[in-house]
Amino acid sequence: MTFPLFLQLLTNGLVVGALLAIVALGVALIFGVVRVVNFAHGEFVTLGAFATYLVVTQLNISPLLGIPLAFVLGAAVGAGIQAAIVSRAAGRPELDVLMVTYALSIIGLGIFSSAFSGDFRSYSEGPSGIFTLGSVVIGLRSLTVLLVCLIVGVGTILVVQRTRIGLALRALAQSRDSAAACGINVPAAELFAFALAVGLAAAAGALVSLIGTIHPRVGHDLVLDAFVVVVLGGMGSIGGAVLAAIAIGIVNAFTSFALDDSWARILTYCLLYATLLLRPHGLLGRHVGA
């Protein structure tokens, strides 16, 4: 493999990994704080993708503006669903809680499939052209995705690590009873975490619509990789999820090139089972939420 090719693959992997990281960040946040595996996370990605698609093609709005719009839409929908549905299952056995988000996922998948049929859609509005850096060629759209992911990802991590509300979320992830005894408004904090995570998912959907094709399963497929990443990174660990996402993005870029897409995914899953067997708390993690 030549060095320029290596750099090119690395760049491609980084774009995919960054996108995956934003989605996985949300899954880890919800799992850590609300103690729920959000199986419907992928449907919120799809929501962001179709919302952006509609806004761009029907209202002639720039897809770049679609990103914050999708975030706001996602956060609002996420807050509504957490308040009206997910919070109702709080304190119930794990099976019930899992099935609530899974049912939401089925409902979302069904709605998108019947509203938009199975077609693949895309649009050409927004940034176009390529950008060359030495021998590496990167599309302006991919570059946009990379930059937005960087900003959004760093921003979210700063909120979680450096602000008082972030401290409340991290405390809540460690012990609910202690958090309440410390005066932390547990339901409000959960609502915030869920809304933020779903907002991120929808924003990721907007980015997906920029560089890929949009179809009813687009988020569903992406979130499966995000789950892989969350398990590899140590359930609920935000830092672990981000690192694992970028690693998986890059590894996939190389294996896809050397073999093909399917083998790349097969290898990923094998790696995942090996990790579960040998390092059950993730490749990096020691404790849940550490």
Binding site: R164, L167, A171, S175, D177, S178, A181, G183, V186, A290
Partner: protein, 238 residues
Amino acid sequence: MSGILTVVDAHKRFGGIHAVRGVSLALNSGELLGLFGPNGAGKTTLFNMIAGLYPPTSGRIELASRDVTREPAFRRARAGIGRTFQVCRPFRGLTVAENVLAAIPPGSGVGDDRARAREILDAVGLLPKAEDAAGSLTLGMLKRLEVARALALEPKLLLLDEPLAGLTASETSDLLGFIQGLKARASIILVDHNVRQSLGVCDRAIVMDAGAVIASGSPDTIRRDPGVRRAYLGESAA
């Protein structure tokens, strides 16, 4: 003297278990009340009802003449009830300083809050550990961290659930002295299953057994109570 806490005929049932059977008590401000009783007497359950972890099955709880019976735990914490857990529940993955910071009411600006957290840690003797992960502390330190976290709320009422259990003799006398010093800042209910150990620092005490109050009054009254002697002979034999 004004009443800080009033509990009226509180009951708690867990399925078939009647854990607290009609406990009433009143606490004046600046008072240190001892709450004694053997394991399973219902002391922790009473604390959990006062702190709002779960509501009483029946009965009423008032904080400074305000009925808080149906309020969630976090609102009671903000209203001035600070508590520790018998089995320590620190935020293990957070640093010791962050544990305390999490309980400081937000608003005064992050810099101030951090300084305040360090002040409180200094008071309980944990300042050297401020940047360590809470999960790495010894039991004695964890007990003090729980007290520090409760103090961060600027509480009117402190509920201390067996803070002395499992400590060495010197740790016990240090912490007991510290708790006595807190009377100036808050009213305190101190749970201990060892009457001899802490009755001396209490202004007043209550003894529970099998969910009910079996004796209450001044430390001297408690010491002379035949029922208490009997319960504690049973306890010491175990």
